[in-house]
Amino acid sequence: MRAYFDHVATNPLDPRVLEAMLPYFKDEFGNAQSVYDLGLRARDAIELARQRVASLINCKPSEIIFTSSGAEANNFAIRGIALARQNRGKHIMVSRVEHHSILNSARFLERSGFEVTFLPVDNYGMVDPETVKKFITKETTLISIIHASSEVGTIQPLKEIGKIAKEHDIVFHTDAVSSTGNIPVDVQELGVDLLSLAANQFYGPKGAGALYVREGLRIVPLIYGGVQEGGRRAGTENVPAIVGMGVAAELAKEELIERMAHVKGLRDRLVVGLTSHIEDIQYTGHPQERLPGHASFLVEYIEGEAMLLMLAHKGIYAASGSACSSKALKASPVLLSMGIPSHLAQGSVVFTLGKDNTLEEVEYCIEEFPKIVERLREISPFKKGWQQAV
């Protein structure tokens, strides 16, 4: 059996999306900037996709700028706003549980003379709006808070933080890459000025992301060049990917409630199944305020990458925030910032469910994973507890 439980890494492409993309790989290959029919049809296709993406997050089509990825959208947002507003002040705030594309953009700004506050989080990985308030200075121009953590699933109190930002005339960005298309995301309701999203997180293609920028807000481009995207993001438009993103957005909007209920049901069963069959396992992140398909754990005495490989050997695909499973060979900063000690962070394992997963797959995982844990604990010098150290 195969069970893909790593939807936070990427989603399979919906066949309906691929179908819609195919013509743009074939006859409809024109450059969207060309004045003739072949170009105009490409442009129309892009504008239709823009409407669909806008509709998914409840903004105007003109407020959507297509990018090549969530990481690009995040870099664009953070650096583009910090630069555009640098005459007002040079202080920005991001949380400690942001994606690397936010954290490292913020560090780049730090090296360029900006001051950055990395906001602490509680044990659930949640930012306290009161903490945000405390760190605001007259120089603060931008706050960026992730919508939902891809590592522990926790959903942040964006509304409250947005209100605080607004009161202080601070621009508010959210990285909604892991949430958009998976839970309701409404920029008006969230009160955000900018929002990043990526198509591959809702069954759209890789290579397609977007940044929502509230009308009237000036942003400095990340990629300079021609007039594409209203002069705000240059480069020949990736028409098939943009078309795919549009269709994926439309499907996500239509099927959202259904998909959420489906993955939540499976997720809840998985959590009960695993925590009742495995000793010394902790559920991480917020128990309620979290992505519906997201189940993240710390399994004591064993290491994440080893779990992933044994799971994959059984056809089950999952993720981990352990040092060994990352190329950077560092335990997830998100887990550490939540106060989790390093040795426990090594035992991180994350199952993220998708619309096409089935109950059989979940039951299969509940059967197999405890055996894997047992096997790895057999091998571990800590099988009787952490005191068994070297």
């Binding site: 005495y301 064993i302 290491e303 994440g304 990458e305 080893a306 490989l309 044994m310 050997h313 352990s322 040092a323 060994c324 499973s325 190329k327 060979l329 335990a331 000690p341 390093s342 040795h343 090594q346 057999e378 091998i379 571990s380 010098p381 800590f382 099988k383 952490w386 150290a389 070297v390």
Partner: protein, 128 residues
């Protein structure tokens, strides 16, 4: 990323466990960094007649542990001390660059086990 040989040693590691009456025990690593290996050896006439391990770590760490205990068995103390991290990696048909530290740990844990044996022998010789 990992060779087939490595995956075999990871999925079906050899020599897993403790040797309760081991002649030498060596541990290396730290759970904070991600890998801990513990090697147990049984020595007769300066020859390693049995070796076992316990490892907390990634796939490579477990495979290295399996391989190094296999390589140690049957070797004299002197020969076993010469097992290099490169030899371990090679025996596993290669290790990804970022995983080379695992074979370091393995070689070091074995050395510590041998040193433990040697220092114990010295102590017992001193006593006798």
């Amino acid at each position: 990323m990992y060779s087939q040989k490595l995956m075999e040693h990871f999925l079906s590691p050899k020599n897993v466990g403790e040797i309760p009456d081991a002649d030498g025990v060596g541990g290396e690593g730290n759970p904070v960094c991600g890998d801990v290996m513990k090697v147990y050896i049984k020595v007769e006439d300066d020859k390693i007649v049995d070796a076992k391990f316990q490892t907390f770590g990634c796939g490579a760490a477990i495979a290295v542990s399996s391989m190094i205990t296999e390589m140690a068995k049957g070797k004299t103390i002197e020969e076993a001390l010469k097992i290099s991290k490169e030899a371990i990696a090679e025996a596993l048909d290669g290790l990804p660059p970022q995983k080379m530290h695992c074979s370091n740990l393995g070689a070091d844990a074995l050395k510590k086990a041998i040193q433990d044996y040697l220092s114990k022998r010295k102590t017992s010789e001193d006593v006798n």
